[in-house]
Amino acid sequence: MTRRELLKRSAAASLALPGAAAFLDACAKPGTASSSAHANGPGMGSYWPAGSPYPLARQDSPVTWKLWRDPIKPGLAPEKGATLQIYNWADYIWLKVVRQFCKAYNCKYQITTFNNMDEGLAKMRTGQLQFDAFMGVTPDILGKLITGKLLQPLNHSYIPHLASDVWETYQNPFYDQRWHYTVPYTTYTTGIGYRRDLIPDAQIRGMSNPYEIFWDTKFNGKIGIYDDYREAISMALLKNGITDLNTGNQKYINQAQKTLISLINAVNVRASINGVYIGIPKGTFDIHQSWSGDIVAAWQYTPVQNMKTWQTLGYWFPANRKGAVFNDTVTIPANAQNPVLAHHFLDWMMTYQNAMLNFTWNGYQPPQRQADPATLTTTKSYYGEPYVFPWLSDAVVHESDFHTGHFQEELTPQVDQLWHNAWQAFNSA
């Protein structure tokens, strides 16, 4: 081979090899992830299970997500004549709050809804829908959204009310250190909703293990749990004394499965998603696993609107506040058409007055500094009633709950499969 030939072939090979690699990559089995060092990953965190493309956030292993692109520049004017595209769970924001924002910023709005987080994520992934604000995002899907480059980093200069109005915890949340991509929307706990006219508060509070009330045969056929595998199994884990709500321990999950199945024969338990705010006021359920926000809003669904019927709604959460706690977030999608307006909207929702107005309607508490949990049960809301009725004081979320409570976080696919199998076993029992 002559030197000229060698050079020609080397040049050809240098051109062809990347192409060949790309070709081989295209021919590779679909769904196989290319291995990348953690240093090149989308974020930094100490809990990075094998096979996971990103670190998983835990209360004791926070995650800092890298900025995959620069946030928008500071000091830009909001887009003029824009239509703010909001993507949210159904019935999870009061339109009054959005209308007031649009009046202040001279814009229109459009709300598109989803019914569960998977659906929300699936629509986002298409890239065809261009939303300005993605609301109600649970922290357990942030890894997917950021790794998939579906969110844009936030410019904090547009959102001063997060620093001034929102709990200290959310100045640096464990699932998004330095809040690169999220602002908190609502906080809530999972406890037990019940009919106070049938179960005195003292009875449930006096039980050594109040979760056992789900097995009380007196309420046969009128007991419900959420139709949600994480919530249902978490309740069984807590009943069994297991506080790690992200456990991958097969033994604990099997025990939780048996615990749940025993509910079927004991009380003919039912799974529902609206059993608290519709079922308890109507009398379809006497006891139901309950998100604090659902029971706070349930008074709006009582068949008769008076204090007597509102007083039938009860909520229990552990007195030591060691129960299941959560929060939802608001984010800005990467392909937002009005990112400046979206930043202002996020700030609007972080402002005390607006956040509390929204709380009045949807029942899910914003993490506002001024919304002192001690006074929420006495301060009158827009409707003239307390934000939270005094007898539902357990449903008020405290900032300290996020230090004492237990968070449901993203599971590895293998652990998630164990949880799903347990849920299917319950459903087919």
């Binding site: 089995k29 679909p30 769904g31 196989t32 992830a33 493309p53 990103y54 569960n116 987080m117 998977d118 994520l121 699936a122 992934r125 997917k144 790794t147 998939g148 046969n220 056929g221 009128k222 419900g224 139709d227 595998y229 199945i261 079927i264 003919n268 338990v269 039912r270 799974a271 529902s272 109507k282 009398g283 379809t284 696919p413 998630d416 499969q417 799903h420 849920w423 299917q424 076993a425 319950f426 459903n427 087919s428 029992a429």
Partner: protein, 308 residues
């Protein structure tokens, strides 16, 4: 003698000459319909069942190249279908058989009455039969949820008449309620095809039966019923196939694991992150199972055509 060219068969049949593709061409729209709306989507389901999930989003990732297919999910679900899910499968079968039988009795009686005794009011009856289709299935089920509440009208009537001393919790995982819901939801789909067929039965057949000495009952048993067998089979197929995949009737009227149907297992898998292939495999199992009544129906229909 001049020999005329022999007519080709299709000229003899139609009286004119058409290109070879002319008559098969009429099957083209239907074939395209089946290709686009059945074959291709079904291949996507198969590709998901034998595919994988996205490593980041955990969403189903269809694998269209059969050489990359994996039987992992098939084997996993086979384990469940032949084990843990057995009770649900048997329950679904029982509910569907019972609901279909009740549907058939109601639908046949209604269709027979309208076809034979509708007279001038046939049009009105037909409108009434179609009326349920104006209201969505979901809304009709929700109305039952209201009626069957512990303090709903059904319990009010039952306690008022002293049929039951206390209100019955119909919505607390009662199999009867689920079967009732299935019957209520699907019976209109059975009435219409039955009516369409019964209305076309030649009256002379019935008259012949009576002339030969059969009373109205035996005329029905020996003439009407055998003649309407193809319609019965067709309406059974129309009703049972969707019933097997139904999940919302149970979700709305029960919600209890005691009444879980196969469709609920499918729905659970569909709703769950990372469970897409499992859901697709369950769909395939259901399709294979439903092929049994479908093949029986096709065999019977073919036999009936041969006999004609």
């Amino acid at each position: 003698m001049r020999v005329l060219p022999r007519k080709r068969p299709r000229e003899e049949a139609t009286g004119g000459w058409y290109p070879r593709w002319y008559w098969p061409g009429f099957a083209l729209p239907g074939s395209l319909w089946i290709l686009l709306l059945f074959v291709l989507p079904f291949y996507v389901v198969v590709s998901i069942a034998f595919g994988t999930v996205d490593p980041v989003f955990q969403s189903p990732l269809p694998v269209y190249e059969p050489w990359w297919w994996t039987s992992r999910y098939l084997l996993e679900e086979w384990h469940f279908v032949t084990g843990e899910f057995r009770a649900v499968e048997l329950r679904t079968l029982a509910y569907v058989v019972l609901a279909t039988a009740i549907c058939l009795v109601i639908a046949y009686a209604v269709a027979y009455y309208v076809a034979r005794f509708g007279g001038k009011r046939k049009g009105l009856f037909l409108v009434l039969l179609i009326a349920p289709f104006f209201i969505s299935y979901l809304m009709r089920m929700l109305s039952w949820v209201e009626l069957l509440q512990p303090n709903g009208y059904v319990n009010s009537v039952l306690t008022f008449l002293h049929i039951t001393p206390h209100p019955i919790n119909w919505l607390a995982g009662v199999p009867f309620t689920v079967v009732l819901g299935l019957v209520y939801g699907y019976v209109p789909y059975m009435i219409l095809p039955l009516y369409g067929f019964l209305d076309r039965i030649d009256q002379s057949h019935l008259e012949a039966g009576r002339d030969l000495g059969a009373n109205p009952f035996w005329t029905f048993v020996r003439v009407t019923l055998p003649l309407s067998k193809p319609a019965i089979l067709a309406s059974l197929v129309i009703v049972t196939l969707p019933m097997f995949g139904d999940y919302y009737t149970n979700n709305l009227l029960s919600g209890s694991p005691k009444t879980t149907m196969f469709g609920n297992l499918l729905d659970n898998a569909m709703e769950a992150t990372g469970q897409g292939p499992e859901a697709a495999v369950l769909v395939l199992f259901l399709v294979v199972f439903l092929m049994i009544p479908m093949l029986y129906y096709m065999r019977e229909t073919a036999k009936a055509q041969r006999n004609q």
